[in-house]
Structure formats: C-alpha cells, structure tokens
Amino acid sequence: MGFSLLRPRRALFAGAAAAALLVGGGTWTAVAGHGPASVQRTDQVLALPEAPGSAATVKIDTSYFTSGSSDVRRPAVLLAHGFGGSKNDLTGEAQTLAREGYAVMTWSARGFGASGGDIGLNDPKAEVADVSGLIDWLAERPEVQLDAPGDPRVGVAGASYGGAVALLAAGYDKRVDAIAPEITYWNLSDALFPDGVFKKLWAGIFFTTGSTDQSAASSTSQSGPRITATDDATCGRFAPDLCAMYQRVAVSGKPDAAAEQLLAQRSPSAAATRIKVPTLLVQGQTDSLFPLDQADRAAAAIRANGAPVAVDWIAGGHDGGDMESSRIEQRTSAWFDRYLKRDTAADTGPAFRVSRSGGVDSTSGTVTLQGASADAYPGLEDSPEAVSLSGPPQTFANPPGGAPPAVSVVPGIGGLGQLSSLGVGLSVDFPGQSAEFSSQPLTRSLRITGSPTVRIHVRADSDDAVLFAKLYDVAPGTGGARVLPSQLVTPLRVTGARAGADVLVRLPAVDHQVAAGHRLELVLSSTDLAYASPAAPASYTVSLAGNDLSVPTDPVLSTAAAPLPWWVWALPLLALAIAAALLLTGRRRHWSGRPAADPELVLVPLRIQGLTKRYAGSADRYAVRDLSFQVEPGQVLGLLGPNGAGKTTTLRMLMGLIRPDEGEIRVFGQSVRPGAPVLSRVGAFVEGPGFLPHLSGLSNLELYWRATGRPDEEARLDEALAIAGLGDAVERAVRTYSQGMRQRLAIAQAMLGLPDLLILDEPLNGLDPPQIREMREVITGYAAGGRTVIVSSHLLAEVEQTCTHLVVMDHGQLAQAGPVADIVGSEDAVLVGTVLPLDADQLGKVAALPGVASAEQVADGLLVRLAGASAADLTADLVRLEIPVQSLGPHRRLEDAFLTLIGGAAR
C-alpha cells in the first residue's frame, strides 16, 4: 500500500515503507508475541541531551525487545521509523528480529510520536546524537554483545527518514557496525531541489506532514508531550530554522544557497567519507522523491571507503507500488546475520538486484515480480549503447504562471508508475510547451538499466530556463502508447541561457525494457506538475548537441523466473501416485486372474458350478445360491422360476455384467468374466431391449455389430432383420417404435452373428399370437441347427412347447433340471374330474387313503399325488368313498409340475 493524496495524511514520509513495517502490529504488554518464542518488551522514555554537551534534555520514547535467555550476549539492532511515523510502526519487525536473536530497540524520533523536541531533519547535533545516546544505553545492557567496553555490536535499519538516520549514525558514531537504509536520501538538498528546481509537491507534503500533529491522528495510546505553546499552525513541530527556510523557498519557488546548504549539511552526503560499515542500500524504482541516483551516490561513496555495499532496487517506492516488504525484511535480517553475528554462512544476496515486472497475474490482480541479479553494482552509466536521436531545433513557450503543467508523476498516486513497465502511459504533455527528438524504431529490444544521457543546446529569452527532460518509450503505429518509464522526469535549470548553453542531461535512472520496433523519444517540456517552474513567460529553443542518446545497460543482470510454488509440480505427481494406487488396488480377486480354459468343456455351451450371489450389502440373503447345471449343444433350455427366483441374476452373471460371489460359469470351456472374448459366442436378450433412441433400428444393429469389432460379413444382418420383421420401419428412429417392435429388434440383435449360445429372457412378452408362434419356430429352428438356446419365461405353455430341457429355480436355488418329459412325468400325479367340488371331509378321506401322498382341490378338479398306489387302485378307492368320478388322467401340464416343484413357497 502506498499512500494517496486522497487519503488522510498520516505516516506520510514513511509512506509505503511504514505501512509495510506495520505488518504484525504490536501489543502493549510486557510479553508480546505468540510465535515460537516470546518476546520481552520494555517501554522506556529516555532523557537525552538536547544537544551534545547541553544540560537540557529531550524525552525520547523507546521500546526494547529481546527474546530468550538474558545470559546470552547478542548484537543489537536499532530500528528507525519513517517521517510522520513513530516507534509503533516497527513493533512487528522488531519482534521478528528479537526472535532471531537480536536485542532490538525502536524509538520515536524527535518531534514524532510521544517523543519531545523539534524536528531537525536528522540534525547531526540532535536526532543523530540521540542515536549515540541510545547506543550508550545499549552498551549498558547485560545481554548486548560488546566489541569493547561502551561499544556494543549494533546495526541500524530504517526506511526513508529512518534510513537517512541509519546512514548518518554510521557516519557520526563509529560504534555502528552495519546498516540497512531503505528508500532514503543521500543528499536531501538534491532530492528536494534537484538541479536547483524546487520539487514543490513532494516538499509541500514533506513539510506539512511535519507541521501538523501526526501523533494525535496516528496514536491514541500514547501520552507523551503534546504540541507546546511555541508551536504555531504553520511550523508545527519543525525546528524554527527549517520552517523559515521552507516558507522562503515555497514562496519564491526557487531554492536559495542557504536553503541548499542547510539541507546538505544535514544529509548523509556530508558524512560521506566517514561511513565505513557494510551497507545494504534498498531503493525504489517508482520513487520520484528519492530516486535511484540517491542510492547510487551513497553506494559509490561507501564503496570508496572500502565497506561492502549491496544495492537492491525494489519495485515500489515513495510513489507507491510493491514494497516487497517481506523479502526486504529477510534480506535485512541476513545482512545483519552476516555483519553483526559474523555468520559467514549467511547469504547476503547479490551485490546488485533489480525487481522486474513479470506481467500481471490476473487471478490475483497483482504484478508478478522477477528478480534480476548481478555480482557487482555497475552504477548508472554502465555499458552504454548509443541510440541516434533526430529532430530539428524547436522553440516552445513557458506559459505564464507555469500553467497548465505537464503531468509526469503525481506523488502518492499509487502504483501507477509501475504500470509503465506493462505498457501503460499516463503522462500528459501540452502542445507548444515541449520539444521532441525521436529515434528510429529499435531493431532489437533494449533494456535500459541506469540513467541515459544526452547533450542538448538550450537558448532562451530569459536568463534562467527551467526544463524537464523525459524519455518516452513509444509503441509503433499511429496512436501507439507512449510510456514514461516509472513516470520519472529530470528537472534542469540552465543559467545563462540567453547566450545559449550546452547541457548534459542525465535522464532519470530506470530499469525498463524497450521492445523491438518501439522508438525512444526525448521530450523537453517547460512545465511539470510536481515542480515549480518560472512564472514569467519565456520562450526556449532546444536543439540536440550531438545526436547520440547514451543508454546504459547492464547485460550481466540475469533474470530468474518468478518462482512457482513447490506444489505446482508436487500436486500432479501426488495425484498421479493416488491415481495409480486407485487403479492398482481394489481389483476384485474373483474377476482378476484368468483361469485356463477347460479342454474337456470346449463343446459344452454352458456349465455353471456352485454359482452364488448375495444381495448387495447382505451376508446371508442370496439372489442365487449354489446353482449348478450344464447345457449341452442343440438343447433349448427353459429357465423357469417365479419372480425373484434368481433367473435374471444368473443370466446377468452369465453375460459378465455382475460378479458372482462364488462359483464359476464356463461357456465353451472358457471362464466368464467382464469382457471375456468368449462372450462373443453368446447372443443375449435380457430384461428388455436397449437401443439408442435417436438412431434407426438398422443403424442400431450396424453400430452394435461394429462395436463388437468383428468383420461385417459375419453379422448375418439380413437374417437377423428377417427375424425382426420390421419392414420399412427399420429405417425409422427407434424412439418411434412400439414395445413389440423393440422387442423383436432386440431379439434380432441377440441373433447377430448367429451366436452358438443364444439367451432370450422373456422373448415372447409383448408379441401378438401370430408373432409368438413365429418366434417359437425361430427358436426351435435355431437350435435345430446345432446351436443352443436358453429361454427364460413365465409363459409356461410356450416353454413346454419350445424347450427340450428345463431348469427350474426357486429362491435362488436349483429346484429341478432335466428333459421336459422327465420333469413333467417325474411325479405320479393324477387329475380327477368330479361333478362337484369335494368338501373338506371328503378331501380328508382321500388324502388318508393308503398309497396317496396328498389330495388337493384345484380349479379343474382334484389333484392327487400318488405314493405307491396305482391309478386303478385310486379309482376303486374313490368309488368306494362314493365320490362321483367323471374323468381320471395323468396330470401332465407343466404349470402344475412347476407349481408342484416349487411347492407353496412361491405364493
């Protein structure tokens, strides 16, 4: 999060950095944190000298964080907050560092938070001296590691205003051992008055932040000094000399020498030769307040002193964008591990690292960052490539009052500057107020890393000319997007312009990819919204002094792809393992394995042995139980049984559709299992037809046959169609068929290829009497050819007329099997025709006769089962019992045999 002009002005100078450091927050208890290790926190207001050697004191509000045993001496870290913030912004980071084994101190700088005193903009005699006071305090702590008596091992880190105090502390106090300043200034005068041009928007924000009471807005829990009576509305908590300076410059719109000198004296650059400690410089690419060249100069100076320096260009900055706070916190921590704990194994990272946009992740809506790194920091003008610019000398106006201004950067507008790397341009130039010099389209892409430079000649009708130089990346085509990298401009003040002057323009330092085919365009304008330009109207004439734009590159920088989370690779592998496990386990034993064919049975169409199937989820309820029978070639086998006898279940097992729990089915010697090739010798019609309703009858049969994968000529389609007898209807969609038509088509499908074993389940259902007779002939004729047919039916009369053999099932078990004649004649039953039905008394007498098993009144007469007696004996006995016998004959009907076999249990 950056800050916005549209939001309340809080924590301004700290900007995005402070916001980043707020992560984690803090609690106001003695023991804070709920992580792996608890953190001891001590809040204390220290009274430090107002100036070195003075008796007056100023109250500095501090917090001190440690973790773990106090017996172990450890290095200390001072964390400084940003402008407009307070020590509370740093609680989270302080706790993290404390857990990592540091003694951490945070404090509110003079003029901020609950601390007293005036804002002196890191005055070496005030704020910087305070840091020395804090180091004195740290040197007394028993758990802080000492390099020498009174000299603790200490590092200083901070962002923006706090980063500057880190640099300054290293310059003014030799006890500081390492620093990690972020997005800060090297020379505040250069930052606010670049080339003598007043950066009015940023400076205004800067000073109004300090002159309004931030603590009231940002803190409710503090009870430190409030605004004193000496504060006034315009100066707030600023020291009077700074306040006066700002008011002077803001009114004139032009810095004077005194102002420049005042700011320069208080800048780290004033102590340049004395900063000799390892320094991690983090600077923002979208930062028009403290641009990359501030860190560049810091790096050059500190390296010249012989200290290790690493430079890290983050994506964000004071203008907004991604502050990469977690990465920077980790890097800072590693830096201190290396140079405070002296842990040589700690990875301090590359000497130069640049965060580059890898494009937008539209799912999360964030810009993906990739890091490019190199082993050395090359400065801002490394490996220059020349790009030719052309354009005639151009004259343009400085509008009176400097309005309307061109727009480049608007402080705090958010991460818009970062969009420039995505090809979005937001800049506005007004016609007649600028000169343009363009290159030819680039033949190859060019990555600018650093400050491009160009020499121009400026002539004006005033002595003092203020120009703003910017380098656009212009896409091809009319109306091609014009992108101003990072929205940065370079202001320049040309004195003595009336006579004409050659000026070397250092364009803003950026890291930006210019695609092949794009042009570079140098624009010099007379106004810019963010800067103060002369109010007096003027006319400027600008021409190129030398045609080459020198574009720095850093070819050594190598980009690492944005890292993918580990699970992107791991997840599919894990899924693959799970899938393999799912497929390799859970094979049902009964269906796996391939029992060898039984050579003795190759001619036996069907043999069922011990077949058992339980109902789903039941251990002792059987659909089929221990069923065994065998069918020989040429037989027409009738499968009989009441509903629920297990006929259909048996047939489904025979087709490999359901799995037997026990037992075995062999067709022509081959064991049946799902998809067993031997099933191609079986044709089946079970439990009704199954067709694709949108296809015609003919297509259904053709496609069904092709699905079997066998040659078309084996299908015997014509014979099957003749059996179906559908006529022209065979071309119609099956959904238009009647039940009987579907039935016949299904039987025809079962007969496709003239299978050796044909299974027909209730084949005569839904057929009219002529069709029934026809079908009976078909079945009989089919078996007469030596093939085998199994018919399951409830139409007992038909079975009797059609079948040669019978298997009767009841309750899932075999009741009887054998030739029809045997079953029908298997029991001595006699049907006695009587004139009148017998009464119970007479029935009892008949049943009691010797040699009679039972007597029963049925619809046609008296059914008597004999047990030893002959029909002649029975007749004599009936006559003796005075029962009028009309007729007497053997009971031959299958239905009765069937009922007899299954007893009364089926009813």
Binding site: A475, Q630, Q635, I658
Partner: protein, 297 residues
C-alpha cells in the same frame, strides 16, 4: 449338480465350426469412429454445436446493436477493446464464455456418455458384446474429449471469423495499451485455448466419474456444473486466502495473463497443476469404480 445329458446325438456340423472357443477375429472393440457416430447423431450434440456457433454471433449482434462496450474494471477491461479487431473479438468471446459457458458442453459430453447408455439399457449389451470395460471407458473418454475440444475451439474460431468480417483483421489491442501483432496474437489465443482445455479437465473428470456412478445423465452433468458454481462462489470469498489456490475453478481466467506484452505463466501453471491433479484422481476413480461395478441397469 444336475447335468442335462439328454443331448440330441445328431448334432449338425454347423455347430462345430469353432470348437476351440472364442477365437473369432475381433478387432478393437467399440472403435472410436463407431462411438463418435453413436454420439454425433444425438440431438444434444447438434444442439450444443449450434449453441457454440451461435454464441459469438449473438455477442456480435449485441455489440452491433448496443454499440461498442464501455469501460470496466480489471478483467472486464478486455471488453473495452472487444471491437478493435477480429482477434480482439475472438479473445473477448473466449473471455465471456470460458468461465461458465464452455464448461457446459464439457460437463455434458463427459457426464452424459456412460450414464445415458445405462439409462437406455444399451450399456449391458455393449458390455456383453463384449466390449471390455476399460476399453469402453477409454473409447467414451476419448470421444468426449474430442467433442469437448471441438466445442471449445469452435467459439473462438467462429468469433475470429465473425469478428474479422465485422471489425477487420488486425493486431490484438491490449486492454492495458499496446498491441500484439497478429501472428503473436494467434499463437497466444491458441495457447489460451490449450490452457482452457486443460483447466476444464477437472470438470470433465468429475462428470465422467459421476457418469459411471449414476444412471441419471442429468445427475452427472448437473453435479459437474454444480462444482463450477460452488468453486466460483468459494473463489469469491477472499477470506479463504491461499486455500482458494486449490479450488478447481480458481484459475479459470488466468489465461488472460497471456494478453499482455510479457505473458505471465505462473497463474496458468498453477491452474493446470490443480486441474490435472484433480482430473487424474477423478478419472482413476471412474475407472476403478466402473471396472468392478455390478451393471444392473
């Protein structure tokens, strides 16, 4: 055991033509071509085909009647350049349809394929034909994949043709500014299509698995669509944070990352990873379930 030994002794010679058993020359059962014809002639296939062809035309008419689309936020920004060129219109149609519309044919083709056979009772005849169960699933899966691919490809293809006719052939204007040359644009759109197909595998696999479990085609199709809806709802709950990364639908739009100067691959890599992972497990479940299933329909 009873044996029906009373066999007619005068066996006609015809029966003995294949004494060794089942060694008939069976080629591959349920060939892809046969399964494709079986599915292709269905009304729902034709209706779905008509729908994917009509959608770009309906969008085109909407733009013609309603004028060029206005500005929007974030992803909708693609709409603002919808009428810039043929490739732009194709990208827009893909954007409008990839979230839900294109999921429908995929869920339909995969969810309906086995369940409808069970519903028609034709499944048992195929299995007894015999078509081995794994072979049946492989055939059906392949054909459903083919149909889904065609449906998914048709939308941008028709859109590209219609858009080019209406707005001309030109570079793909990016919503963020700039443009992709036509060659690059076509490659990017093809890549996007590939990603969309891969990201729909999870829907496909869920529908396919459900199809083997239920006999009701609507149940399988509806279940898979329900997942998309649920995924979209959960994906909108930002409080879920990183958990959403593993929602099967969360990365559905990450192909939009291709529509910028520097394409961004991370989102798509995550999306493919999540989708393929779910799909592998669900397809395995489908095969595991179906091969051991008692077919009672």
């Amino acid at each position: 055991m009873s044996t029906l030994t009373d066999t007619p002794s005068d066996l006609p010679a015809e029966t003995a033509h294949d004494p060794a058993g089942s060694r008939r020359a069976a080629r591959r059962t349920l060939p892809l071509r046969v399964e494709a014809v079986r599915q292709l002639r269905r009304r729902r296939t034709a209706a779905m085909g008509a729908l994917v062809v009509l959608l770009p035309l309906i969008i085109l008419i909407a733009f013609q009647v309603g004028g060029s689309p206005g500005g929007g936020r974030n992803q909708d920004a693609l709409l603002t350049v919808a009428t810039a060129s043929g490739p732009n219109f194709a990208a827009t149609c893909l954007f409008l349809s990839s979230g839900f519309f294109l999921v429908v044919p995929v869920a339909l083709f995969f969810g309906d394929t086995v369940a409808s056979e069970a519903g028609w009772s034709s499944l048992r005849y195929l299995l007894a034909a015999p078509v081995p169960r794994t072979r049946l699933l492989v055939s059906k899966l392949t054909v459903a994949l083919g149909f889904s691919t065609v449906a998914t490809v048709l939308v941008p293809l028709v859109a590209l043709a219609a858009g080019t006719a209406a707005y001309g052939w030109g570079p793909l204007q990016l919503p963020t500014g700039g443009a992709l040359p036509t060659g690059t644009a076509v490659v990017r759109l093809l890549t996007a299509l590939g990603f969309i197909l891969l990201s729909q595998l999870v829907t496909a696999a869920l529908a396919f698995w459900l199809s083997t479990v239920t006999d009701a085609p609507l149940g399988a199709v509806g279940g898979a669509l329900g997942l998309t809806i649920l995924g979209n709802i959960l994906g909108a709950i930002t409080a879920l944070g990183g958990v959403r990364d593993f929602l099967p639908t969360y990365w559905a739009y990450s192909w939009v990352d291709l529509l910028q100067t520097d394409p961004q691959w991370n989102g798509m890599a995550k999306g493919v990873s999540v989708s393929v992972s779910y799909a592998l497990v669900l397809f395995a479940l489908a095969f595991r379930h179906f091969r051991a299933k008692d077919v009672v329909s």
